[in-house]
């Protein structure tokens, strides 16, 4: 073997900075450890395994936040496979925080069911690790493998309630839609690779799937039609994952059928990972922005309008939150487009994601505590004057929904405000207008939820029926841990509404 090949292999091996991805490795080891525990521990002690999973994640999150808030090092690693950056570190913390909430929601909603439990937590950990690697990907191979690791995990998590037809059907729909979007993404990668590896063209490279090399090629050939088609396919594949119009068809069904913890996981982490990828890809495709920006602008405007109008008529709670999540994806897309002209907008997108995380988790935690056998059947009427039956959950729901709606002074308001500022600075006046219209429409259905929770539901009843309707819904039971979790989520929403300083300076200092 020629020595220069060996030397270059040695150079690549030297960039394998394993220490830089210790959170993902710890997550993977923790997942395996949980599976071992299931084998080793006696049956009656299995209840402790979810708690161990949550505790492990809290310790890891605490360690990162206290000792390693800005990551060990910046720059590409693993031979150009991943790029370590402050944004990656912020998203890593985001995914860990979300997965702690998801694990807790799963613990609550599995309580009254007979099914295998430990696997759910193990898969959640693996998916979290994969999402965080996906956010750092700097190479299409890395991106695709991390994305598929997460997606295959999600197939299992969505169809986890095997006794429930709705959960299985949601799983099948997510499976077909997810595999379809992956195949579209992959074909886009193939075309981009084919264009950028062509030795006859200027700027081509042997390692054409590396984002820096691809960008260099696109700068040299900004009108290459193969590359433009490839880019559009890749963007379509990512748009499927974030649920942007016209690729949002799977969202209501899958969100309704999936267990509430998985719905939260999909709504928050999966969407955030999609946006992390999109932020990277928009930078890579910057030389093609004359095609990319109009496409993304159209998608963003239609996503906001569709999500809000479709949510107006929904009665099912999880469908409603899913469709409102579609409109949130539209707002985030505005931020992504603005980030091309206004660099700080990247941080504002991250801030919006954190606000969305806290608001959504408060809402989903309330859903998990509502007494229903299968949470896919939750309707608006099930909230029926919940505030009277359990004031704490009522307040949590009001704050969560208020933050999602963007009511000042909650975190969601600041998030939307920053996105609008970014759109204004980037001179995206049409999107700004559509966004404001979207906010106005969304207040109608968000307040529908709050109204259902705080005011008596008018029911057409005879006297007989009234007697049986009144005690039909027992009050939700809350443990101390549950209260603590919800308090963290709503306190986060309130505090971030007033003091953005620490999070903001941490995000922009990255």
């Amino acid at each position: 073997m020629p020595t220069d090949t060996l030397n270059s292999l040695g150079e690549i091996a030297a960039t394998n900075t394993w220490g830089a991805i210790y959170p993902e490795m710890i997550l993977g080891c923790l997942a395996l450890f949980l599976l071992v525990l299931e084998v080793v521990l006696p049956k009656f002690a299995h209840g402790a395994i979810p708690r161990i999973a949550i505790l492990g994640q809290i310790l890891l999150l605490g360690y990162i936040v206290v000792f390693d808030p800005s990551g060990c090092c910046n720059g590409v690693a693993f031979g150009g496979m991943i790029e370590l950056s402050g944004t990656g570190q912020a998203l890593r913390i985001f995914f860990l925080l979300a997965s702690i909430f998801v694990s807790y929601l799963a613990m609550v909603s599995f309580e009254n069911k007979t099914l295998a439990r430990v696997e759910y937590f193990a898969i959640t950990l693996v998916v979290t690790g994969a999402l965080s690697l996906m956010a750092m990907a700097n190479h299409f191979v890395m991106l695709f493998v991390a994305l598929e690791t997460a997606t295959v995990g999600f197939y299992v998590l969505v169809s986890y309630f095997r006794q429930n037809v709705l959960s299985l059907e949601a799983g099948l729909k997510y499976l077909i839609m997810g595999a379809l979007s992956s195949a579209i993404l992959l074909f886009g990668i193939v075309l981009l690779y084919g264009a950028a590896s062509n030795p006859a063209l200027a700027g081509s490279s042997e390692d054409a799937m590396n984002f820096q090399n691809l960008r260099a090629f696109l700068e040299a050939n900004p009108t290459d039609s193969l590359a433009i088609i490839g880019m559009l396919l890749v963007i379509s594949g990512v748009a499927f994952k974030i649920g942007a119009f016209p690729f949002q068809i799977w969202i209501p069904d899958v969100y309704q059928g999936a267990p509430v913890s998985t719905t939260a996981f999909l709504a928050v982490s999966s969407k955030a990972a999609g946006f992390a990828v999109l932020l990277t890809l928009v930078k890579t495709f910057a030389p093609l922005s004359s095609v990319l920006v109009p496409v993304l602008t159209g998608i963003a405007a239609l996503t906001i309008l569709f999500g809000n109008f479709a949510a107006l008529t929904q009665r099912n709670l999880k469908r409603l939150i899913g469709l409102s999540g579609v409109s949130h994806a539209g707002f985030l897309l505005i931020g992504v487009i603005a980030a091309q002209a206004v660099p700080q907008a990247t941080n504002w997108v991250l801030f919006y994601l954190f606000a969305y995380l806290l608001g959504s988790m408060a809402v989903f935690a309330v859903f998990a505590h509502l007494p229903k056998v299968w949470d896919s059947d939750l309707e608006l009427d099930d909230l029926g004057d919940m505030a009277k039956r359990n004031g704490f959950l009522g307040i949590a729901l009001a704050i969560g929904i208020g933050s999602l709606a963007g009511i000042p002074p909650l975190a969601g308001f600041i998030g939307k405000f920053l996105i609008f500022v970014a759109a204004f600075k980037a001179e995206l006046y049409v999107l700004l207008g559509v966004g404001i219209v979207g906010v106005v429409i969304s207040i109608y259905y968000y307040f529908g939820v709050i109204k259902a929770a705080f005011f008596e539901v008018w029911r057409f009843t005879d006297e007989d029926e009234e007697a049986e309707a009144a005690p039909a819904l027992p009050g939700a039971t809350l443990t101390g841990l549950g209260k603590l979790t919800i308090v963290v989520a709503i306190a986060g929403s309130v505090v971030l509404g007033f003091f953005q300083g620490p999070l903001g300076s941490w995000l922009s200092g990255q």
Binding site: Y155, V165, S182, A183, V190, G194, A208
Partner: protein, 101 residues
């Protein structure tokens, strides 16, 4: 006539299109699943052809990853289809309408 890169890419694109419209048009879940695999294999063919004719290895190596990913997807996907069949005794898409619109 010699077979060149264009022919390979044309076949790959045709396979991808057949798979894509199959996913949209077919009613049987298993056939839809086969169409999804067809799309992934169309991508593999494209990767190999570009890799061979443009003289780089990364495309060929990527194929190993996509094959592995496809295998993992099949394992999970068939399990979901079997579980659903046990519950509903059907895998025809028009019958799977429990989630209301």
């Amino acid at each position: 006539m010699t077979v060149g890169l264009e022919q390979y890419i044309a076949v790959s694109a045709a396979l991808f299109a057949i798979g894509f419209f199959g996913v949209l048009r077919r009613k049987n879940t298993l056939v839809i699943y086969m169409c999804l695999e067809l799309m992934l294999n169309a991508c593999n063919l494209g990767l190999i052809a570009f890799s061979r004719y443009h003289g780089g290895m990364s495309g060929s190596v990527f194929v190993f990853f996509t094959i592995t990913v496809a295998a993992a997807e099949v394992a999970v996907g068939l399990a979901i289809i079997v579980a659903l069949f046990r519950k509903r005794q059907t895998v025809q898409v028009p019958d799977l309408n429990a989630l209301k619109n």
